[in-house]
Subunit: 228 residues, 2 copies
Amino acid sequence: MKVQVLTDVLKANQTIALGSKKVFDEKRILVLNFMSSPGAGKTLILERTVEKLKKDFNFAVIEGDVATSKDAERLARYDIPVVQITTESFGGACHLDANMVKKAMESLDLSGVQILFIENIGNLICPAGFDLGEDKKIIVLSLTEGEDKPSKYPVAFRNSDLLLINKIDLLPHLDINLELLLQNAKKVNPELSSIKLSAKSGEGFKNWIDWLVKEYYLKSKKRSPKRK
Amino acid sequence: MKVQVLTDVLKANQTIALGSKKVFDEKRILVLNFMSSPGAGKTLILERTVEKLKKDFNFAVIEGDVATSKDAERLARYDIPVVQITTESFGGACHLDANMVKKAMESLDLSGVQILFIENIGNLICPAGFDLGEDKKIIVLSLTEGEDKPSKYPVAFRNSDLLLINKIDLLPHLDINLELLLQNAKKVNPELSSIKLSAKSGEGFKNWIDWLVKEYYLKSKKRSPKRK
C-alpha cells in the first residue's frame, strides 16, 4: 500500500516534469539539476560558474532549501533571476518535486535565459527519484565524504549524468582513496562521467566549464521540438 | 490531508518509541541516536569510542543505511553485537523509525549491554522527527559542511542534545567561521551543547568521552522505573 502511494506520487511527478521539459526545450534552455549532501559546495560551484560565464550566457537559478533563502541571496548578487523554494511550507520535504519547480517557473522570467540551474535540497537520498524536467542530473560529492558514498547511496549516483568531486584542494589532508571512490561510482553507474575540482582553489574548474559549455551547445543545436 | 497522514505516522512512531524506551530504561541501557549528513564521520567516531572504552563498558550498535552493511562490518570488528538495518527494503526510506529499531532489538542480545549506539541514515532532514526510544539525540557535523547548516536544517539541530563538530583537524585548510557556526547552532537551539573533535587526529576526543561516561552514570543511577 505504501509502495503503491509512492508509485502514484512518482507518476504524477513525472507527468508534470515532462510538461516543464517541453517548455525548457521550446525555449532551448539547458536545465541542470544539482544534487548533493548538505555542505558539498553546490552553491559555491554555481557562484564561481556564473562569475566565469556571466558575460557569455544568460543564467537563471531555482534554489531549493528546507529553510532560509541564504543560497538564493548569494546567487542574486550576480544580478541574475533567482527563485527560492523553501520546503518548510511543504512539511519540510527533503527534495524538490516537479510541481514546486513548475510553480517557481511562474515567478521566473525565462525569456532569454540559456542555462537554468536547479539547486536541489542538500540530501543524497530523496531528490534522486524526482525528475524536475531537467536535461541532466549532476551529483556533487565533497571529497571529505569518503569513498563509500556511491555504494551507500546508489540511487542518486545511478540516476546522475555527471559526478563533480569537489574540495579536491583538501586531498593532501584526507585519508581518502580517490581511485576507489571512482571505482565505486562506476560500479553503480558505468556511464557516469566525473570531474575533480575545487570551487575554492579553482583547480579542475576548467573541465567543468568545458563540460557545461559543450552541453549548452548540444542542447541549443537540437532541432526545435514540434509544437502541437 | 498530507499533513494529517504525517501526523498519524509520527504518532504511531512515538508509541513504539516509548515502548522501546521502557525496555532500555528497565535494562539501564544508555541509548544514543546519531544523526548527520552523509560522510560527517559518525562511524569513525563510534569506532574510536568503542576502541577507547571497550574494556570499561559493554556496547551494542544498531546501524542504519539505505544500502550496504559496510558500517556494521566496521563496527563488528570490535567484537560487539551489531545489527544492520538497510532501508532499501523499506522503499529506500531516508531515516530510521521506531518500528525498524524495535525489530532490530529482537535480533540483538541486550543482556549486559550498557551503551547502545544507533547510527541513523546519513541525512540532515528526515531522521530529526522520528524518536527511536533513545535517551539523547546527537548531531554530528563535519566542519567542512559550512557554518550555515544549523539555519538551513533547523529541526535536526533543534531536536538534538549534543552537537559534535568533527574533522576539526581540517580547520587550518578551510574558509570557515567556527564562531559563527556555534552562534547559528545556539540560535536554533539555545540548549545545545557542543564539542569540537577530530576522530582522525584524536583532538578534542577526550571531551566527548567524558560527556559519554557522565551520561552513562546519570542513566545508570536513575531509580529503576516501576514495573507494571
